[in-house]
């Protein structure tokens, strides 16, 4: 039994719409390209199998995998490619945000990466601000009322804590730069490594 061309087209468009919705964040021209290519592929597959029956349309879509799986592949592949070209944290975080919206693994990688970049950036900034705020910027050990102490990385915009002790002095300048850069590099590697691990662990959709 063949189904009316409109019904088949409707089913295909619903699938493509679902993939497209999950590709937000990839450049708009790329998304258009991806969707047009998938439509062309599905049309060819259905035609090659003998025409549009519900089963053939279903089989062609199933072979591509569920929309979220397929979009996930595009997004993680995109992340790996971008990471190979540029190691910019902004690009990496940008793609991690898309990935996080698709999977729990992506969400945790995003959280860890934000934490890593934030801490790295803070050390870097602290080192840069030390010459401007020589008395207040740095790594401080601050005792609180309960007798406990907290370690605080201070950029030095506010006044120095009254009972605190600055730990590194001018050493924060070279150390902050090195630790800051190190954390950014390690976080980037972690993001790429976890993306590869995730991709390696995925079943092949459509099988």
């Amino acid at each position: 039994m063949t189904i009316p061309a409109d019904d088949a087209q409707q089913k295909i468009e619903t699938y493509l719409g679902s993939v497209r919705a999950r590709l937000r964040g990839i450049d708009e021209t790329d998304v258009r390209d991806i969707v047009t290519e998938l439509r062309s592929h599905i049309t060819d597959k259905v035609a090659a199998s003998g025409g549009a029956t519900p089963a053939r349309v279903h089989a062609a879509l199933a072979a591509l995998g569920a929309p979220e799986e397929l979009a996930g592949q595009y997004i993680t592949d995109n992340l790996l490619a971008k990471a190979e070209i540029t190691r910019s944290p902004v690009r990496i975080l940008d793609v991690l945000f898309r990935w996080a919206s698709l999977s729990v693994a992506g969400f945790f990688v995003l959280l860890a990466s934000i934490a890593g970049y934030f801490l790295g950036g803070s050390f870097f900034l602290c080192a840069l601000l030390k010459p401007l705020h020589p008395g207040t910027a740095g790594l401080w050990l601050i005792p609180d009322a309960s007798g406990d102490s907290t370690i605080s990385l201070r950029l030095g915009f506010s006044t120095a804590p009254s009972s605190g002790k600055e730990l590194l002095g001018w050493w924060i300048l070279p150390l902050g730069l090195v630790i800051g850069c190190g954390l950014v590099v390690v976080t980037t590697r972690f993001a790429i490594w976890s993306t590869r691990r995730y991709r390696a662990s995925r079943p092949l959709p459509g099988n």
């Binding site: 790329d30 390209d33 991806i34 047009t36 290519e37 998938l38 439509r39 062309s40 592929h41 049309t43 060819d44 597959k45 035609a47 072979a63 591509l64 995998g65 799986e69 397929l70 592949q73 595009y74 993680t76 592949d77 995109n78 790996l80 490619a81 971008k82 190979e84 070209i85 390696a200 092949l204 959709p205 459509g206 099988n207």
Partner: protein, 125 residues
């Protein structure tokens, strides 16, 4: 696809090691399929299925092509087809050809040394 049928032991679940091995070869296989000229996605899939024993998943190949394009290893162009819709053709860039040659060199070296190591196992069978 062919995982279940082609599996040597006839078991219904593919060996995860085998799956990883095949996946790892996919990038080289796609570059190799384009060596003789431009092809569109479905042609690449058919070429891979016909000429290699790779388990080819459509949902993996299209994102992979997209990545190879981002990396500058392939370029693509839209060509109007007789079927009435445009098809996206891929071709290797000079960088893609270079990368394919490098991968073939690594592959050849690796497979010949592995074969040497594995030779006694084949005879024991």
């Amino acid at each position: 696809m062919t995982v279940i049928d082609s599996h040597p032991t006839g078991q219904s679940v593919p060996d995860p090691w085998e799956v990883q091995l095949r996946k790892g070869c996919l990038e080289l296989a796609v570059l190799a399929s384009l060596w003789n000229g431009k092809l569109y996605g479905l042609e690449i899939l058919r070429r891979l299925e016909a000429d290699s024993d790779l388990v080819v998943s459509e949902g993996t190949v299209y994102p992979l092509l997209n990545r190879l394009k981002t990396l500058g290893l392939v370029h693509s162009e839209w060509v109007e087809s007789d079927a009435g819709h445009p098809r996206k053709y891929y071709a290797l860039t000079p960088a893609g050809k270079q990368r394919a040659r490098e991968m073939v060199a690594i592959w050849t070296q690796f497979s010949s040394s592995m074969s040497k190591l594995l030779a006694p196992l084949g005879k024991a069978k």
